[in-house]
């Protein structure tokens, strides 16, 4: 491997961008395909499929030769706005799904270590926390807004839309969401952008308890994560 290709691969990882190293087997010819370049690549289909699964592996090229695809995908982060009962239910489930969870809620009565032991908990307003105490959102983040309070949820949803998070969900009835769509549209987001917000949040499994809603939301996140190909960036 050329040292500059290795350095490029490491640089993409450091920047939390996905990349795939294509190595011809057995002769070792190599090239690095950055995520942004995949749609225009001759191997777009196979690369997109491997990227969605997040798995390295052998692939057969159109010319019949074999190549090994080293797939490098940034670890997925889950940012939940609202230190509420549903978020508490998400804690153990997110851990077993390898989702790095951060809970943000400026209401200090909710955001207490007693309610969220061992969780990355930030008692700040989302717009102050994101890009500050919490690393800025990116495409490999899922954001779930669960406070029901537009003052808290809306800025987080706006940040998630701007960052192109792969999943954006918001708790609330259809009526609540209609009002939210109205506010975000007023704020300058297009219909297509606002349409990316999943509401009502979670897969339709008839969830009733907070833990069941947590399960529905996480299932929706996994479904979106594993869907190939990935949504276009912002």
């Amino acid at each position: 491997m050329r040292a500059d290709i290795l350095a490029g691969l490491n640089a993409e990882r450091a920047a939390r961008r996905a990349a795939i190293l294509v190595t011809a087997i057995p002769d070792g010819g190599q090239r690095l395909v950055r995520e942004a370049d995949i749609p225009g690549d001759p191997l777009a289909d196979v690369l997109a499929r491997h990227l969605a699964q997040g798995k390295s592996g052998l692939a057969t090229l159109p010319d019949g030769r074999q190549a090994f695809l080293t797939v490098q995908v940034p670890p997925v982060r889950l940012v939940v706005v609202g230190a509420v009962h549903i978020s508490q239910g998400m804690v153990p489930m997110a851990a077993s799904l390898d989702l790095a969870l951060t809970v943000i809620d400026p209401r200090t009565a909710f955001a207490t270590p007693e309610r969220f032991p061992g969780v990355d908990l930030v008692a700040e307003w989302p717009d102050g926390a994101l890009g500050g105490r919490v690393p800025a959102l990116d495409r490999y983040c899922a954001l779930a807004a669960l406070t029901h309070d537009p003052k808290i949820d809306d800025p987080a949803l706006a940040a998630a839309l701007r960052a192109g998070c792969f999943y954006i969900g918001a708790l609330g009835s259809r009526k609540t969401h209609a009002a939210r769509v109205e506010r975000l549209t007023q704020a300058g987001f297009t219909q297509a952008e606002v349409g990316r917000i999943r509401a009502p949040i979670g897969l339709a499994i008839g969830a009733v308890s907070p833990a069941e809603i947590a399960l529905a939301v996480l299932a929706e996140i996994v479904a979106e994560l594993r869907r190939a190909p990935r949504p276009e960036g912002p």
Partner: protein, 107 residues
């Protein structure tokens, strides 16, 4: 702790940057109960120092020997270890697993 496969790639870059001769081994295919998944890396320098693993200890010795040759001649190669392979049997892949490992020099 240098444990994940991505850390191994950072180490490979750092070692090369220090002017050391470096080879990278990658698990490209597994069958049966292979101990390390596809994509696992082992980085080896010209002095035989290594980081990471391709098998959890079973065939690292053989890979390191091959890596020295790859560092020498610069020609990448694919190594295969499995129960049908005497070396692998001696090396301890008696679990029934088989792996293919690609070894290349960092130039």
């Amino acid at each position: 702790m240098l444990s994940t496969d991505t850390d191994i790639l950072s180490a490979a870059e750092a070692w090369r940057g220090e002017g050391r001769a470096v080879a990278l081994a990658t698990v490209i295919e597994t069958w049966g109960s292979a101990p390390r998944p596809v994509g696992s890396h082992l980085v080896i320098d010209g002095g035989g120092n290594f980081l990471g693993s391709v098998s959890g200890g079973c065939v690292e010795g053989a890979v390191i020997v091959e890596a020295a040759e790859v560092i020498e001649d610069g020609r990448p190669r694919v190594l295969e270890f499995g129960v049908a392979d005497e070396t692998a049997w001696r090396a301890g892949l008696s679990c029934g697993g088989r792996i293919r490992v690609f070894v290349e020099r960092i130039d």
